[in-house]
Every structure is written in structure tokens, then in C-alpha cells.
Symmetry: C2
Subunit: 409 residues, 2 copies
């Protein structure tokens, strides 16, 4: 069923509109500080109401050379200073390090390891690529640290309690105590599961995020949402639990499949739509460069996305209002993921189709004008993302699944 | 193997001594503010070093009649004001209400219910006794509140992930959203599981503790330790998560089996040993009255225990030091529970035997004198509690299980 022909009753979509509150200041329950960059009557770029200057520049800085002067003598690898985006959460604040080759800068990681015991949680696809490199980064010049690892099966369908128990099994068998550190090495599924395991193991141990997909680097690794799926709905069981740091080595994207790359861009595009018009315009000019993995374009898009995410999370850690704007496209999207079986569609693919549905609904409710619908459609298509839900997804399937996914937000 | 003949090597028991740090100011790593009431050289009652006056009286007060003036017009039941002990944790502070017949005072409970949807988590033994009464207390004069319930099998052996999932299943099937309230109605197992479910469901919902055993009323319902067991160790998976309130209706003890009553007294006695000499002396005079369920004696023992627990938890919520003193007898005790199969011995029975072992070890290390060993032995025996571990528990069993339970503290 094409998004532009879907006809859900107002009663079943009224709650869904919360994803769209930010789309226009005339939304039903507009969050207090959100202003969609494209109003229905003012879609001219020159009149966009929100520019990137609203992001606190103080939260972003390049690490000075002095921060890296303690590299061990045998550190022969690149030491290009990372870009740092701070997530400002009081005594739970932490840095996001962004840069090419950061896994070669062992001090970056080691300064955030608590205790001498580390458990790396990763999956069967990522382990052969980056596990040795990560263990090296954790232990180089620091022989007192010992590293265990647990390698989970890959995919959203394994983001469940049975798989989570494997992390606890490994931690207990390895006799890790409260002073250990868990490290999530992988995409969003690994980050969510490792984070929830860290939140729950011995009632809470430290953890570090090393996201290796665009999706995880720009979205899921930042902000402390952790958890697992239930057969009846996504992310129903979890915790708000912040990491010690997020380390984004953009070199890990060199091995990312094209489909995963596009999936991550759905979240990048989301930030442009919900709160950063200047970034959206930049994306309209550079989407092909992102798909082609132009290093400079990728680094900029990741940094800017993290700045947006950090800014929202700093204002509303536990999603009492503003943070819900980050769910644009996710209500329809989660229904697609759940209804189609976890893993059939990648998360970003479902979000892309869901975004078009949300934008289309906003248009039909009179909240935005047609030009916005077209721009959103166009950029998602250029990003090689689906813009309609699976043909087999019926209205009744959407209704029954969204009946869970809506109240559980 | 009798406690007084057990011979564990110093290397395997050194860590266990942390349970005993508080037993004497000459302990290896004494917590900064703890002083065992009976020093090895000063066991004369008149010279006890800690009296109950060290408990902040400001945290305990009787609720004035004004607090109960909003009772609904149809409230015909007893309205004796409860005793209130405050757990002082900043914006996570909460009251413990203690009194006979508090489940008949619906306003007490209703003022702490968030939202209009409630899930009562209870077990097969408690449900027939108190579920209807609890639902009535939640809904009387308040027809907008709807209550669901999930009835779990009874016993420590069901404090596991499979059983926990039944709580999530029920919550999701009932479409409970973030604004719901979970209510734990039962003993320590129910409180621990319901609390961890509340901490994890949709990344955290409100919950209320209604403990129905002495064990839960004086210890496990207070302080926010929640969680489940792993086959390799107790309480390995969980969260620090505080309730909105704890409601102790001492009338629920009228149906408590004698063995459960004695089990709870093990924790009451613990408070006397670790920090409240005056209370210990009172227990030595009143232990038979407690076993006979004298209402005044029980009410006093529960209040005084909660004051001690609240005082410790307020100073060290996440067990970075002082709170570990509450684990007296629990390192040996958990080994007994784990080694013997969860549920064979009640928790308090294992703690009682573990306390004797801990005290005996302290004596043999020269930290306390014999008179203390005798007083602890005597009061536990009078409370009908075991003072030696199961005969089938060998030293090697203790060693292998404590190797897990020690590092996981």
C-alpha cells in the first residue's frame, strides 16, 4: 500500500501525530521549544525558521594536542585529534569522540575504562573485522587490563531476552565484578543490548559505546536509551543508562554494506526535518557524496547529527516532551518492523517509509504544504531508501501493531 | 558441617570479612562511620558504643490526623494514623507507612498511584489472602483507576528471568503505558521482581511496595535493591530503583507461617548486631513476644528496623561502603541458598546460619570476644532459627559458590 494512498481513521492516527508535533507550530500538542524549519506557508529556504546556530557551539570542540600527549611511547599510529561533542547531563555527562582512525588512539578509550576487567559485546559480523583492533586499543601499553568478549548472532531479531542472557552468562562465568566495564562494539542492536546488560548486571556497571554503523553513530549510541524487544513490540524492556563515552571511528564505515549505509542516513535526514533546516539543505546538496562515502561529508554529517541528538537529549533525557520529536517516522516505522518480522527491513528503511507516511499525514491534516512532502520524498529516494511501506502491510496490520507502539511511547 | 568447626582458608575468607567490617573498629577495612556496638573488650551492656539515639528522629513521625482527612465518605474502616519512616534520597525520597489495617485506608495508597492504570504483581499464596483487599484499596472511591494483576508461582526458585517475563507479558497485553503504576504485593521475591520489572518496563514506571512478610517489611522492600537470580548466583541481574512508597500493613502478618515469621526475624536481629545495641538488648528481652506475634512488639521491631535500614540507605544508596554492613551473614547465607537450591532454606534461615559463621570467623580472627558469639547464637536459637549450615554443605561447596558471591558484591 503506497503511503500517499493510505487511509487511516483519525481516531487511530491522532496519537501517532505526536511524532509530528514538531512539524509545524500549529501541531496539536506542540513541544514548547520545537519549531519545524519548514512551515506550511513558508517553505522558501531563505525563510527557514531554525538554523544550526541554535546548537550550542560550546558543546563541540576539537581536542587539543595536549589531550593526546599521554599516548604511550609505542603509539605509532595516526593521532589526528578527534572532534568532540559533549552530551551535557550533569554528573552523567560524557563525550562523543568522532574521527577517522580513533581505534588506533588507545588513550582515548583507556581513559574511560573503569577497573581492570572489560567485556566486549559484539556480533558475528563485526567481530572478525574489529574485535582484535578493539582489544588492542583497550590493552596497548596497559597490560593490567584483561578483556573478555561475547559474540552474539547478528540482527534485530536477536535483540531479545534469550540473547541478552548470553551476556550475563559470560560476565558471570568471567567473574566480572562491579568495577568492570562493558564495551558495545557494533551497530544499534549491540549498543542497545550491551547498554541494558550494563545497566542490569550487578545493578549497574560502566559501559562504553563503539558504534560501527551510521545508524548507531548518529543516533542509537547517543542518549542512553537501551533495551530489548518483546515479541509484541520494540524496545519494551530497557533502561535509560548513559555510557562513559561514545567512540566513533569513521573508518569502521569502510566495511559497512550499502544497504546499512542508506539505512543510517534515514536518521541523518530526520535531524534535518525536525530541527535543523540548514543541515537539511546541506543534505540536499550532498546526499550522493554521503552515499559515495566521501570522508569529509560523512564526518560532517555524523558530527552535526550528534550535535543535534546531544542537544535534544541534554534538554529532555527521559523523553517527557522534546525528545519525542526524535521519533519522527518511528511510529509507522516500528509497525513495519514488528509487522514484517524483526530484521526483514532495516530500522532506517522502516523509518524512511514511516517518515513519508508521517509527512503525508501532516500534509493531509493541513499542517504542512505539498512542497515539504516532495522535498522529504525526494531526498529519501535519492538516499536509496524506501518511501512506501511493504505492499503486504494492510491498514488493519498497522492499526493493530500501532495500538501497542503508540501507547508504549 | 557445624559453623564452629568450619575451617576455610584465610585467602578464601578474607573478602568475606567485609560483612564483618562493622563488627569491630579494628576490622581490616572499617567503613568510616560504623561502630559495632559490642567491642571485643567492652561487651558490658552499659558500655555499648552505639545507641538508637543515633538514628535521626526527624525521619520518623506519626502521621497527623490532618493527613487522613481526605478519606472518602464511605471510608468506614479503621483510620489509626500510620507511623511514617522517611527514606531520605533527595528527589527520590519516599515514606514507609507502618500500622495495623493500613490496607483499609485507601487514601494512603491512592495518593502514590500515578496514572489510572495499575498492575498488581503477587503470587499464588498471597493472592487469595490480600489481592481483593488491595484492589479495593486502590479503587475505593476512585472508579477511574483500573487494576490488572499477575499471579506468579511462589518461591525463591521462581525469582528468575522466565518468571519475570510473565510480568512484562501481562503489562504489554494490558497495554499499560509509561504513566502506569506497578504494585508489589507479597514477600521479598515479589518485591524484588516487581521492582526490577518496573525499572525496566518501558525504561521505567512507578511502583509501590506492599510487603506481606516480616522479611520484606523490615528489609527487602526498603532501599531500592531490585532484581532476579541467575543460576550461578543470587541477585546478579537487577537495578537500584526506588518505590513511590512502602505500605506495611502489619495485619498481613496474621497469616504468615511460623517459619516465615522466624526467617524475617533474622534480619531484625541483624540490625541490632551491626548498628543498634539498644535494639539488640530490647530483642533479647522480647524475642518470644515477637514469635508470639504480640502486635505492639511487632510494630516496634518493624519500625525500628525500617529506621535503621532507611538511615543506612540514605547515606549510601548504591552500596559504595556503609550499605555493605547490611550484608552481615549474607555472604555465607547466599552460598547456602545457592548451594542447596533456591527455596530449600528460607532466606532468613540461611542468613541466620551465615551470621553465626561470620561472627565465629570474627571471633577466631580476634576481632570480637566469646561473649558476643554466645549472645548472637542464643538469640538466633530462641528465634527458632538454624545456627549451623546444612550438614551436606562441604567446605569446597562454600568455596566454589562464595567465589562467585564474593566478587559480585
Amino acid at each position: 500500500m503506497a503511503a500517499n494512498t493510505i487511509s487511516l481513521s483519525i481516531s487511530s492516527t491522532a496519537a501517532a501525530s505526536k511524532n509530528l508535533h514538531s512539524l509545524d507550530s500549529r501541531g496539536l500538542i506542540p513541544p514548547p521549544t520545537i519549531c519545524f524549519p519548514f512551515s506550511s506557508s513558508k517553505s522558501i529556504p531563505g525563510e527557514l525558521s531554525l538554523s544550526s546556530t541554535s546548537i550550542s557551539r560550546s558543546r563541540m570542540r576539537a581536542a587539543g594536542a595536549s589531550q593526546l600527549m599521554n599516548e604511550p611511547a609505542n603509539e605509532k599510529r595516526s593521532t589526528t585529534p578527534p572532534t568532540i561533542v559533549e552530551v551535557d547531563l550533569g554528573n552523567r555527562s560524557y563525550p562523543i569522540y568522532i574521527g577517522a582512525g580513533l581505534l588506533d588512539q588507545s588513550q582515548l578509550l583507556q581513559r574511560h575504562v573503569h577497573g581492570k576487567r572489560v567485556l566486549v559485546v559484539t556480533n558475528e559480523r563485526v567481530a572478525p573485522l574489529y574485535l582484535d583492533k578493539t582489544v588492542d586499543a583497550l590493552t596497548r601499553g596497559n597490560p593490567n587490563v584483561s578483556v573478555e568478549s561475547v559474540i552474539l548472532p547478528d540482527g534485530e531479531k536477536y535483540k531479545d531476552m534469550d540473547t541478552l542472557m548470553k551476556v550475563f552468562d559470560k560476565a558471570i562465568e568471567s567473574r566480572l565484578d562491579r568495577r568492570c566495564t562493558f564495551v558495545a562494539l557494533g551497530g544499534g542492536v549491540i549498543g542497545d543490548m550491551c547498554g541494558y546488560a550494563a545497566a542490569s548486571y550487578l545493578r549497574g556497571v560502566n559501559f562504553i559505546q563503539i558504534p560501527t554503523t551510521v545508524m548507531a553513530q548518529v543516533d542509537s549510541s547517543v542518549g542512553g536509551k537501551t533495551g530489548i524487544n518483546h515479541r509484541l513490540g520494540k524496545n519494551m524492556i530497557g533502561a535509560f543508562y548513559q555510557p562513559q563515552c561514545v567512540l566513533v571511528d569513521t573508518n569502521t564505515l569502510n566495511t559497512l554494506p550499502d544497504r546499512e549505509m542508506a539505512s543510517g542516513l534515514a536518521e541523518v535526514i530526520k535531524y534535518g526535518i525536525i530541527r535543523d533546516a540548514e543541515f537539511f539543505e546541506w543534505q540536499e546538496k550532498n546526499i550522493e557524496a554521503l552515499l559515495a562515502r566521501d570522508p569529509a561529508a560523512l564526518a560532517y554529517a555524523i558530527k552535526r547529527s550528534c550535535e543535534n541528538k546531544a542537544d535534544v537529549v541534554s534538554q529532555d533525557e527521559r523523553e517527557s516532551g522534546l525528545r519525542a520529536t526524535l521519533n519522527l517516522g518511528h511510529t509507522f516505522g516500528h509497525a513495519i518492523e514488528t509487522g514484517f518480522g524483526y530484521g526483514e527491513w532495516l530500522h532506517g528503511e522502516a523509518v524512511a517509509a514511516g517518515t513519508v507516511m508521517a509527512v503525508d499525514m501532516s500534509y493531509r491534516l493541513g499542517w504542512i504544504d505539498e512542497s515539504i512532502v516532495e522535498r522529504v520524498n525526494n531526498i529519501l529516494k535519492r538516499a536509496k531508501l524506501p518511501t512506501t511501506p511493504p505492499e503486504s502491510m494492510t491498514v488493519s496490520m498497522f492499526k493493530s501493531i500501532m495500538a501497542v507502539s503508540l501507547w508504549s511511547k
